[in-house]
C-alpha cells in the first residue's frame, strides 16, 4: 500500500512540476476582433491545428427539420458561386489540409489542420466557404441520396445501429434524444436556402471562440479570420442554454430490438443524467474506470476473463454542460445474453452491497492519474479539452489540478457513485438481436422490468 501511495504521489508531483513549468504556461489568451482566442505555441512541427467553436448546436434545429445544423456544416464544401465542390475538395486535398466539423446538441466545432506554411491559403478558402457556400441543390441531393443509402445499410452494422437506437431510447422524453444528424424523414427538408440561413445564423448570431496551436508564425491568420471570415465578437453573442424539467429516475426497463438473422446480441445499459448529476466529472471518470475501463475493470474481469462471455465491455459517463448520459456497452452470443445481463447486474449489486477495496481504488486511481499526461501528447486533443472546459464553464485549473482532486476520493465515494449512475434499478437495458431470443429475455423481466419491443426502422 505504501509503495502504491508513493508511486501515485510521485506521478502527481512529476506531472504537476511538468505541467506548471510547460503546459499551463504555454496557453495564451488573445482577442481577435472581439473573439476570444486560445493559443498554444508549438514549434516541434511546421504544422497547425485550428478549431472554431460555436456556442450552439443541434438544439437550434426546428422540429420537422432536425439535423439541419449538422448538414449545413457538413455540406460547407458543396460549392460557392465561384467554386465547384470538386475545386474546393481538390484545393484542400492538394495541400493535405484536413477540414471537418463536429456537432453536438449544445455546441459546434469546425476544425482545420495542415502544414503551417499553407494555413493562410487554406483559411482563405475556409472563410469563403463559411461566407459564400450556396449549397447547390444538385450537390445537396447527391449527398443526401448517399446518406439515405448509408442509413438503409445500418441494419448490416449491429453495433452502429444499436448505438443510434440506444441513445434515442435511453434519453427518451428529454431535449437530447433526437439524433444530431436527423432521421430519414428530415432529409427532404434541407433546402439550399435553409442550409444557408442556418450557416448565417451561426456566423452572425452565435458566440464564437478560436483555439489554435502551432508555430508563432501562424498567428498571421488573424487578419484573414477578421477580414475574410468576418468573425467578430461581442457580449450579446448567443450561447445555447435551455431549461428542462428534471427527469425523475424511472424503474428499469428492457427494450428489445429484433434484428433478423443476428448471430450476436448487442447489449447496452444506461440512462439520462440530469444537470445536477454531472457536477463531479472526475469522480464519474474514476467510477467508470473501476467498473468498465480497460482490461482490469470489474466488468471485464467478471464478463470476459472469468466467463468468456464477450470480447469487450466498457462503461462510460459522457456529459455536456447541461446533461449527461451513462452507458455500459458489450455484446455476446445469442445463447448467453441472459447470463451476461445477470453478471452485469450482480457485479453492480455487489459493489453496492460490499463496496470496493482500497486496492481496487488504487488500481483505478493509478490508471487515471498515470494516463493523464497522455491527454497532452497530441495538441489537438489538448485543445479539445480546453474547448470543453470553456464550454462547460469550468476553469483550466481542473486539468492541471486533476491529480490532487482525484487523490481525495475514497473507496466509498466510488462505490456510491457507481450505484448512483449505474444502479440497475434505473436503467434502460437495451438488447438488439435475433427474434429467437425474445422468450429468454422474458425471464429477465421479474428482476429488471417490463420488456418493450420496438422496430429499429422507427429510429432511422
Amino acid at each position: 500500500m505504501k509503495t502504491k501511495l508513493i508511486l501515485a504521489l510521485s506521478l502527481c508531483i512529476s506531472f504537476k512540476t511538468f505541467a506548471a513549468a510547460k503546459i499551463e504556461d504555454s496557453i495564451k489568451h488573445l482577442k481577435w476582433n472581439g473573439v476570444d482566442v486560445v493559443f498554444i505555441e508549438d514549434n516541434r512541427f511546421p504544422t497547425y491545428d485550428i478549431v472554431f467553436y460555436f456556442g450552439d448546436g443541434a438544439l437550434s434545429d426546428d422540429k420537422g427539420r432536425m439535423g439541419l445544423t449538422q448538414h449545413a456544416f457538413n455540406l460547407l464544401d458543396a460549392g460557392t458561386a465561384k467554386l465547384s465542390q470538386k475545386d474546393i475538395l481538390d484545393q484542400f486535398e492538394f495541400y493535405g489540409t484536413e477540414f471537418s466539423s463536429d456537432i453536438t446538441h449544445e455546441y459546434t466545432t469546425l476544425a482545420m489542420s495542415g502544414l503551417s506554411k499553407d494555413l493562410n491559403t487554406s483559411m482563405t478558402q475556409a472563410c469563403s466557404l463559411l461566407r459564400e457556400a450556396n449549397f447547390p441543390a444538385e450537390i445537396v441531393k447527391q449527398d443526401l441520396d448517399k446518406e439515405r443509402s448509408e442509413l438503409q445499410s445500418l441494419v448490416a452494422n449491429p453495433q452502429a445501429l444499436s448505438d443510434r437506437v440506444f441513445r434515442e431510447v435511453s434519453l427518451a422524453n428529454t431535449p437530447y434524444s433526437y439524433p444530431v444528424s436527423g432521421k430519414l424523414r428530415d432529409l427532404d427538408t434541407y433546402t439550399p436556402a435553409a442550409l444557408r440561413a442556418k450557416m448565417d445564423y451561426f456566423l452572425n448570431t452565435v458566440k464564437k471562440r478560436i483555439y489554435i496551436t502551432g508555430p508563432k508564425s501562424i498567428l498571421s491568420v488573424e487578419k484573414i479570420i477578421a477580414n475574410k471570415c468576418q468573425f467578430k465578437g461581442n457580449s450579446t453573442d448567443f450561447v445555447r442554454s435551455i431549461t428542462y424539467k428534471k427527469q425523475k429516475n424511472k424503474n428499469s426497463q428492457i427494450v428489445f430490438i429484433p434484428l433478423p438473422d443476428a448471430n450476436q446480441v448487442q447489449v447496452k445499459i444506461g440512462r439520462f443524467l440530469n444537470y445536477d448529476e454531472i457536477g463531479d466529472r472526475k469522480l464519474d471518470t474514476l467510477a467508470s474506470e473501476f467498473l468498465g475501463g480497460g482490461f482490469t475493470s470489474r466488468l471485464m474481469r467478471e464478463v470476459r476473463v472469468k466467463r468468456g462471455l464477450t470480447y469487450s465491455i466498457g462503461a462510460y459517463v459522457s456529459s455536456q454542460k447541461q446533461y449527461g448520459r451513462s452507458g455500459i456497452a458489450t455484446f455476446t452470443k445469442n445463447q448467453t445474453v441472459n447470463k451476461l445481463v445477470e453478471v452485469i447486474n450482480d457485479s453492480v449489486e455487489k459493489i453496492k452491497k460490499d463496496g470496493i477495496t482500497s486496492e481496487d481504488l488504487e488500481r483505478s486511481r493509478g490508471a487515471i492519474l498515470g494516463s493523464h499526461p497522455f491527454k497532452f501528447e497530441n495538441n489537438r486533443a489538448f485543445l479539445a479539452q480546453l474547448l470543453y472546459l470553456d464550454h462547460i464553464e469550468r476553469p483550466y485549473a481542473e486539468l492541471f489540478d486533476f491529480n490532487s482532486a482525484v487523490m481525495k476520493y475514497t473507496a466509498s465515494d466510488v462505490a456510491r457513485k457507481i450505484d448512483e449512475v449505474y444502479g440497475m434499478r434505473f436503467q434502460t437495458i437495451f438488447i438488439l438481436g435475433d427474434k429467437s431470443i425474445e422468450g429468454e429475455l422474458k425471464k429477465l423481466s421479474p428482476k429488471l422490468g417490463k420488456i418493450r419491443i420496438l422496430d429499429f426502422k422507427t429510429f432511422i
Binding site: 512529476s14 475538395l89 493535405g96 447527391q142 438503409q152 443476428a262 470480447y311 487515471i368
Partner: protein
C-alpha cells in the same frame, strides 16, 4: 485483436525535416535527409532493441514485434498465432494470471496487441517511469508463459465472439476476408488470421504452446521504445531483463522453408467471380488484382497509383462514381496492400440504394481500362506526394507512431531509419512510371471480382467466369 492490414498503402517514418522543403508546391526542392535520434543495439541472443528518446512529456510507448503471423499457420491450425496473442495476457511465471494488465493499468498505462498475416505486435503506452518494469513484464511472459487450461478455454469463447464482430457481423470485414482467401488461395496468405471456426474449435493448448516455443524467441523479435527515456540508462536494464533468454534453435531454417518464394506463387483463379451472402442490404464488391510485396520500387509506385486514383473526395474515382449527378456508388476506394512476400491491389465499392450489382459490375469492369488514361496527371501526382508528406507528420507526432514505424522499418528493411529513403523514393516516382504500372496492372492482368449481399443465397456461391 486482429489487424487486417499492416502497411496498407503507405508507411511513413522518419522524414520530418525533409518535408519542410517543397511540400505543396508543384516543383518541390529536393528534400534534405535527416538523422533520427535512435539508439540501436542487437543483443548476443539476437534481440534487436531500438530506443527513441523524446523528453516532451513523462510518458513512453513500448512496442514488441515477433516475426510470426498467420502466414506460418498450416491448415488445421489457422488462428493459432492470434490465439497465442490473446493468451499472452493471461499469466506467466513471475506475473501470474491477471497481474500483467493490472500492473500496467494501475500505473496509468494501456496495453494491447494485434496479429496480422506477417507479424504479431504487442504495445503499451505507459508512464516513462514504468519502462523498466514493463521490460520485466515482457521478459517474463516471453520466457515463461503459463497458458493455463481454464483460461485457454474461456479465451476460445472470447475469440469466437471477436470473430463474429470482425467478420460475420461486419460486411466490410467479411468481404475483406473472402477477398484475401480467394486472392491468396493456396498460399500462406490465403487463410483467416483470426482462424476458421473448425480450426479454432479444435485448436489445442499444445499446438498454441508449440507456436510460442518456436517463434517467441529473442532473435525473432524487435523491441522499440519511444518517449521520455535515456538510452544510456535504459539499455543496461534491458540487457539485464532480456539478455539471458536463449536464442532459437532451428528457427532460421524453419522460416526459410516457410518463406520459400515458391510457397507464395500465385495459385488463385484470376478472372473468376464469387458472390457471397452477407448481412448488407445494399451490395458491396471488391475487384482485386495481383499486387506487389513490400519494399520494391513497384510497391511504392502502386502505393502512389492507389492514392492518385482513389484518395479523397476530389480523386478520380470519387468524382467518377460517387460525387456526380448520377452516382453509381455510395463509396469507392483503392488500396495497395503490400505484404512481406506478396500483395494485392484492390478496389472496394458499395452501390447506391436500388442499384443493380450486375449493371455496376459490367460498367465498372468496362471502365477500368480507362482509369490510367483519365485519372493520372502531374497535378494529381504532386497532390499525392504532398498528402504523403502531410500524413508523415501525423504519424510521427506520437511516441506510439515513432516506436511503431522504426520497429516496422527495422523488420522489413533492416533499417529503422528507412523512412527517409521511403520519402526519397516516393518523391522520385514519376508520372510515366505510374502510368506504366497502371497499364500493367489494370489493363494487362485479370482481377477477381467478389460481391456480398443479403439477397444472395446463403449456400456457397457457384464459380462464375468473368467475361
Amino acid at each position: 485483436m486482429v489487424q487486417k492490414k499492416i502497411g496498407k498503402n503507405f508507411r511513413f517514418t522518419a522524414l520530418l525535416a525533409l518535408i519542410l522543403s517543397g511540400c505543396a508546391t508543384i516543383a518541390p526542392k529536393k528534400p534534405a535527409p535527416i538523422l533520427l535520434n535512435v539508439k540501436k543495439v542487437v543483443l548476443d541472443n539476437g534481440l534487436t532493441i531500438l530506443i527513441a528518446p523524446n523528453p516532451k512529456l513523462p510518458i513512453a510507448a513500448y512496442y514488441t514485434l515477433f516475426d510470426v503471423g498467420g502466414r506460418y499457420e498450416v491448415k488445421g491450425t489457422t488462428g493459432a498465432t492470434h490465439f497465442l496473442e490473446h493468451m499472452m495476457f493471461k499469466g506467466a511465471k513471475k506475473y501470474g494470471p491477471g497481474e500483467f494488465d493490472t500492473l500496467i493499468e494501475r500505473n496509468g498505462g494501456a496495453t494491447n496487441a494485434y496479429t496480422t498475416n506477417d507479424a504479431t505486435v504487442y504495445y503499451q503506452t505507459i508512464p516513462a517511469s514504468f519502462v523498466p518494469q514493463m521490460a520485466d513484464l515482457e521478459a517474463d511472459r516471453i520466457q515463461h508463459l503459463l497458458l493455463e487450461p481454464i483460461g485457454f478455454e474461456s479465451e476460445r469463447q472470447v475469440i469466437f465472439e471477436e470473430r463474429k464482430m470482425r467478420y460475420e457481423n461486419s460486411p466490410d470485414g467479411f468481404l475483406y476476408l473472402m477477398m484475401m482467401k480467394k486472392v491468396f488461395e493456396g498460399t500462406p496468405y490465403g487463410q483467416s488470421v483470426i482462424g476458421d471456426v473448425d480450426d479454432l474449435t479444435a485448436l489445442s493448448r499444445d499446438q498454441v504452446m508449440d507456436f510460442f516455443k518456436t517463434y517467441y524467441t529473442p532473435d525473432n523479435a524487435i523491441v522499440a521504445i519511444a518517449g521520455d527515456v535515456d538510452p544510456e540508462t535504459l539499455m543496461p536494464i534491458l540487457k539485464e531483463k532480456y539478455g539471458a533468454i536463449p536464442k532459437s534453435v532451428g528457427l532460421t531454417e524453419l522460416k526459410a522453408k516457410r518463406d520459400d518464394p515458391a510457397n507464395y506463387e500465385w495459385k488463385a483463379k484470376f478472372g473468376a467471380e464469387y458472390s457471397y451472402y452477407a448481412t448488407n442490404p445494399i451490395p458491396k464488391f471488391a475487384v482485386a488484382f495481383k499486387g506487389e510485396k513490400a519494399g520494391t520500387r513497384r510497391a511504392f509506385i502502386l502505393d502512389v497509383l492507389a492514392y492518385m486514383l482513389g484518395n479523397g473526395g476530389s480523386s478520380y474515382l470519387a468524382q467518377k462514381y460517387v460525387r456526380n449527378a448520377a452516382p453509381l456508388l455510395s463509396d469507392v476506394s483503392l488500396s495497395s496492400y503490400n505484404l512481406r512476400h506478396s500483395g494485392v491491389f484492390y478496389f472496394n465499392g458499395e452501390l447506391m440504394e436500388g442499384g443493380s450489382i450486375d449493371k455496376v459490375k459490367t460498367q465498372f469492369m468496362g471502365d477500368v481500362k480507362n482509369f490510367c488514361k483519365e485519372g493520372l496527371n502531374a497535378r494529381t501526382l504532386q497532390k499525392t506526394k504532398n498528402q504523403i508528406m502531410s500524413q508523415a507528420y501525423t504519424q510521427m507526432k506520437s511516441n506510439a507512431g515513432m516506436a511503431s514505424t522504426i520497429m516496422m522499418n527495422e523488420k522489413i528493411y533492416h533499417d529503422y531509419s528507412y523512412g527517409t529513403k521511403e520519402m526519397e523514393i516516393y518523391n522520385s516516382v514519376t508520372e510515366t512510371e505510374v502510368k506504366n504500372e497502371c497499364n500493367n496492372i489494370l489493363n494487362k492482368t485479370a482481377p477477381i471480382f467478389i460481391s456480398t449481399w443479403d439477397k444472395y443465397p446463403k449456400n456457397p456461391s457457384a464459380l462464375v467466369e468473368l467475361k
